[in-house]
């Protein structure tokens, strides 16, 4: 929408002037480029090199080729962490739908919308250690949640101590703690949906649900895509604090995610080389997922 006829700037100019212009432009891009290279690319390469060594602690490791990766392929802890990751990613639609639906409701002007917005966002300002401590208490065997469930005659469940529920509890807590941010992003996105488009749909007899599905959600697509990518990266890289405080990866490996495994291998086992190999796998995984998401979402959007 919006601007209609943007005139294509004249591209063809003298070759010399162009290359000069390019050099000049490069000068402006330089500082940012330098930062990216120094703080992103170099560590990435360094990490990859590290993953090809058997470095232990402070000693510089010897080059061992892809042995670390071969070991990964046989490591049951790593397998479990991957299985947990898949389960985590499978819950992604919830991570997107919950804030989106709540944002739509707030945007529609439910009474007290501003209050809800603040309340939903509040946990996002808490450190994961605090969130973890709160839920440690709430989810304990004699915690408030179990006391509450008992009112309905449901027996106590050891939410964090049972390998069937630990990961799901962890996911629920992380969702609670972070969906406020996505909600705000959706609210910002919704405020850009032109109101007369929605009015036009109303005039044409579209029901509320049809308007959501056929008008609002397609318009929000770029936002959904953004939230999906950011959330994926978030759950794969930002759950360490919560795991550490709530379950320490257990019981067994039931809440061990690759990120946590990296820390175990690095901090406890003192194997930076092996940890670096896991990091590389995690990196490739995230890049792959992000790429796939962007591709899927942008396939039929050319707004």
């Amino acid at each position: 929408m919006g601007v209609s006829k943007t005139k294509q700037p004249l591209r063809k100019r003298g070759g010399k002037a162009r290359s000069e212009e390019r050099r000049f432009a490069f000068l402006f891009v330089m500082p940012a480029l330098l930062l990216v290279v120094v703080f992103r690319i170099v560590p990435l390469i360094w990490g990859f090199v590290l993953s090809l060594t058997d470095a232990r602690g402070v000693t510089e490791g010897a080059f061992i080729g892809f042995d670390n990766y071969a070991e990964l392929a046989r490591d049951p802890a790593f397998h479990d962490s991957m299985a947990n990751t898949i389960l985590l990613i499978a819950t992604l639609p919830i991570w997107i739908m919950v804030p989106m639906l709540l944002a739509i409701l707030i945007h529609q002007g439910v009474p007290g919308g501003k209050f809800y917005r603040a309340v939903y966002f509040f946990p996002a300002t808490l450190s994961s250690v605090i969130v973890g401590s709160i839920f440690n208490v709430l989810l304990r065997n004699d915690g408030q949640l179990n006391q509450f469930l008992e009112l309905f005659g449901i027996g106590a469940i050891d939410w964090l101590g049972n390998s069937n529920t630990a990961l799901l509890s962890l996911i629920a807590v992380q969702l609670w703690a972070t969906f406020g941010m996505s909600l705000l992003i959706f609210l910002a996105g919704l405020s850009t949906v032109p109101s007369d488009m929605i009015e036009a749909a109303k005039l044409e007899g579209a029901s509320m649900l049809q308007t959501f599905w056929h008008v609002i959600i397609p318009t929000l697509r770029p936002i959904i895509e953004f939230v999906a990518v950011v959330t994926t990266i978030g759950v794969l890289t930002n759950m360490f604090g919560l795991i550490y405080v709530l379950t320490a990866g257990g019981p067994g490996t039931s809440t061990t995610l690759p990120e946590f495994l990296i820390w175990i291998e690095l901090g406890r086992m003192n194997r930076p080389g092996y940890a670096a190999a896991i990091s590389m796998v995690l990196f490739v995984l995230m890049a792959g997922i992000a790429y796939a998401q962007v591709r899927i979402m942008s396939r039929n959007v050319n707004v």
Binding site: K5, P194, A200, L203, E204, G205
Partner: protein
Amino acid sequence: MSNISITDLRKSYGQVEVIHGVSLDIEPGEFVVFVGPSGCGKSTLLRMIAGLEDITDGDLEIGGTLMNDVEPAQRGIAMVFQSYALYPHMTVADNMSFGLRMAHAPKDEIDRKVKDAARILQLEPLLDRKPAALSGGQRQRVAIGRAIVRDPDVFLFDEPLSNLDAELRVEMRVQIAKLHRTLSNTMIYVTHDQTEAMTLADRIVVLRAGHIEQVGTPIELYEDPDNAFVAGFIGSPRMNFLNARANGPKSVEVAGRTIPLPNLTADLRDGTALQLGIRPEHLDATDGVRLMMDVDVAEDLGATTFVHGTVGGETLVAERRAHVGNAVRELEICFAPDKVRLFDPDGARVR
């Protein structure tokens, strides 16, 4: 086709009333234009008819049915928005058929209606495009097509042409006029462009600050305005207003000159302050009252020249169907007394 009847319609936002009791009857098939300055309530009135704004008080009937609380989609109306309000992710065809698809109309009916509308508006080659790939004028035609597909009794337009450039605006204006002739539906059209109002309307409704100032055919409003506001709003360039003073029952004095007004029905009281209105295009008469004008600027548009200047300290615009040239410092203007419109200091017409 459907008649619309509005009775003492009011709209308040909280404590603030913005439409102060508007009453209007619109005949079936009539093309009615709401004009008025920005913020006068044109859009609000139109949106109340559409059902997009609640009616605070008063009655709205369409086709004899009270519509105050009827859902917008059930009112038999279709609306074209200033911003076009097209769905950016849908093709032109899908945009046009949206309402029918949501109502689960049969596919062949949808196809037929979209084809018909596309033919009327010359949109056939564009049906598979997305709005982003259309020009402003084409988008506007799609928005109109979407309205046509709904086969409404009443078309509502809210400043549909104001996002287009001047040339395209003229073209689309003609298209809309043609459309009205082809479909002969009732149409209500909001604009603040008096040219659009004059050229399109069967009847013009002039609004100011939530009140109707006057309703009439374009010629009625042009020739016989009820007040200085309407007189100034209709016609371009706007009517000149000069301070005048009655110096006889049928004559006024302007800039030291006595102007006899034999056609006046009322008798003026000596010494009353008045406003004398005379249109720029009427200052080129061959005989009548002659005045000398001190020229400030002459705007030559080729076919006509608008001469800006002063008469006895009062600013004035005169139209000339000839080149005047920039060197001219003084110009004789001449007008027939029957072209003069008199207003009292509050702006009410003195006939």
